[in-house]
Amino acid sequence: MTFVNKHINRRSFLKVSALAGGGMVLSFSWLAGCKPTTKEELLAMPKEWFELNSYIKIGENGTVTLYSANPEFGSNVITSMPMILAEELDVDWKKVMVEQADFFPERFERQFTGGSQGIRQGWTPLRTAGATARQLLVLAAAQTWQVPAEEITTEAGTIIHKASNKKAGYGEMASLASTLEVPEEIKLKEIKDFKIIGNSKKNVEGQKIVTGKPLFAIDHKVEGMLYAAIVHPPGFGMKLKAFDGASVQSMPGIKDVFSIKVFNDDYERNVFDTATFDEMVAIVGNSTWEVLNAKKALKVDWEKAPESSFTATGFGGNKSKIVVPSGMENSVDHKAKMAEYSQKPGNILRKDGDPEAAFKKAAKIIERTYSAPFLAHNTMEPLNCFAHVTADQAIIYGPTQAPEFIVGTLSNRLGLPKEKIKVNLARMGGGFGRRAYSHQMVEAALISQKANAPIKMIYTREDDMTSGVYRPTYTATYRAALDENNNMTAFHVKAGGIPETPIAPNRFPAGAIDNYLAEGWEINSNITIGAFRAPRSNFIASAEQSFLDELAEEMGKDPIAFRLELLDRAKTNPVGEKNDYDPARYAGVLELVREKSKWDSPEPNLHRGVSAYFCHNSYVAEVLDIEIQNNKPVVKNVIAAVDCGIVVNPDAAANMGEGAIVDGIGNAFFGELPFKDGIPEKTNFDKYRMIRQVEAPKSIEVHFVKNDIDPTGLGEPLFPPVFAALANSLYKATGRRYYDQPFAPQLEMQNLTM
């Protein structure tokens, strides 16, 4: 990136003249840092760049560069966020170049990728930044031409004053514009006038990806760089006792063997400072292969870790003591313990009416229990990081979703002030939440510091799969009370997990039932967990939506009609005040999916299931069709209806949606990481089954509700509902309900081929 690192106000994009340094123009040398791509070669490079704000620079020849501030992990924010800028700036998308910004908190508001919040939180700031730059160009033209700014219009990078028949390209006015005071008020476009937003644009990095350009941190290399690997305890509840560095020191290519400690003892951790193993052995050498050979040969002794604790600061700034229990845990024990907690009263998270009385009076009670195992993220690019730490500065280049959360950790551990730590953002080979926890950047930095050289540290797949920060294991029990007329009178959910409850107590069906009770429980563990695509929702949706399906059947109702009835109640006469969903939008996606899937006239050989969920401020309903072919359940179609407000880049949004659906089907069928004596029983893709081409649905349709609501989440919301859509259609196909994920082993027991 070619920013000049100056002290700039955080909201600097609204203060251009200050940035330009009292009339001095910042210019950039484009070709200094990186090789031009084909597109850059096609677009004539300007002699000088003028920076209009943190996100936008324009060359004297009219070439525009837009910065994408958020880390890219595959959701294509690197295309869609600049599209928002370009829309308000009013430029020709074909003439725009996009560059990934590095971590630069003085310039950018929220360089965080996670929680499906990129577009939602970037929407107004990016529109404002684009519109502000456009307005500055207009003001520059007004000044130059001596005409009122209000009479000036723009069109695709051209400034026009009709009355005097004057025209200028943005490039001609960029120099002056970059010196002007930012106007106090900025007018944003009317949604109906959008030209770029809502029109699919190809991934701006597509060309680099298909030609294998070095885009990822794992591809990074500098002169004199060494390679590093780590050796961490084989299981949870274990720690390093001793290692015999001499046993590998003399192996070919090996430079150094030492241990590192991720956190200082008195360090107060932040929410994303999860690291499974505080201490590990590092091996440094001339090549990855040599380092991996030494890793295999290294003699290490492990011992049981005693109970330990640390202080952590939560999102709201509140501090708490986190206790890490001792012991080597087993999946079998986890299940038994969760069954035990399911029987005990939990913490009441929400209560409406008098559920106890209603259950006592019930003519019929339906009760079902659901469970799901720990899951590993398994991003295709394993954890890795480049680091070059010297006495007075650190350059860290690694895959991270959350640079702002690791820079303080690095600063504390390296003993360098934050300003001396440069975190560069690489394209990530997948994230799914895993890379919000960037402990590997600290590990790499410590290795570089100790080895006194630039290093690239790579986790093997086995390291990656066995180093924790998993999706937790969960259990949920649902109960419904029915009266003599088969009307539902009460609803009860009790759910927990290791180590967190998955319940969002104010979501549907809360608000739709007079007597409602939600209880949660938690069991502590030394197995580390973290955000995994739609945390908590990814399980609770599957349990809730499977239960509603069974309930509808029990009540003799169509599953979509049943949900719509409940939503109608929540809309017209809601129970409680805290309901955090909009029943009308929720019903909207169910109605849309009913129409698009031709729900009322299904094809004869297909077994269909439906499911819907609200999370990350978006609404999704999905219908999934199964056909049994040669004794094998084949997912023929998935039809999704999504309400996520305005869709910035429709084809890329559909791609994300398709991926989330495939991911959900894969995890529902196969995803599972079991433990024995603290040790993960799967360490690579030979045992950890991932969905592949043959198991992917034969067709996926993603339909978006058209409205003018500001955009909401998209990367996650299509994921949670698909588990139940699959379970409900499998029930239709096989006559059996599937309560415990993953489903494949049960299907195999029914003599189906998986």
Partner: protein, 152 residues
């Protein structure tokens, strides 16, 4: 250490490495061809797929000493600027999400189409089944292979 003569993307190269080093690491670290990716190291994911004499192979399990002077093609050697019909089809369908698996997917697809220029859906599925895409771009991969098969 041994001196090994390689023929990569039409260029003769010599490397001085442990003869057991998998071709994957030689490409990535000694020849700076990082388009070929490490995903599992045990021939399960396909991220490291290259062509050996036009046939798709897993470079993570292939000792460099076994490929001396054989014709190796990597994603970087498929075309100068992404003009290969398979790469073009990938762009047309905007296949990638994170993109990490895609070089391997493309190399597998090119080899598949070489053997079978007009594969059926089922043949594409089995032909591409060795390549994991964690982001789940399978449908677009399939569509892109079909498009490429028409233009080849």
């Amino acid at each position: 250490m041994a001196t090994i003569n390689l023929n990569v993307n039409g260029k003769k190269q010599t490397v001085d490495v442990d003869p057991n080093t998998p071709v994957l690491w030689v490409l990535r670290e000694h020849l700076n061809l990082t388009g070929t990716k490490y995903g599992c190291g045990i021939a399960q994911c396909g991220a490291c797929t290259i062509h050996l004499g036009g046939i798709a192979v897993r470079s993570c399990q292939l000792p460099v000493s076994s490929v001396e002077n054989q014709e190796i093609t990597t994603i970087e050697g498929l075309s100068e600027n992404g003009e290969h019909p398979v790469q073009q089809a990938w762009l047309e369908h905007d296949v990638p999400q994170c993109g990490y698996c895609q070089a391997g997917q493309i190399m597998t697809a090119v080899a598949l189409l070489k053997n079978n220029p007009t594969p059926s859906d089922a043949e594409i599925e089995t032909g591409m089944n060795g390549n994991i895409c964690r982001c789940g771009t399978y449908l677009r991969i399939k569509a892109a292979v079909k498009t490429a098969s028409k233009s080849l």
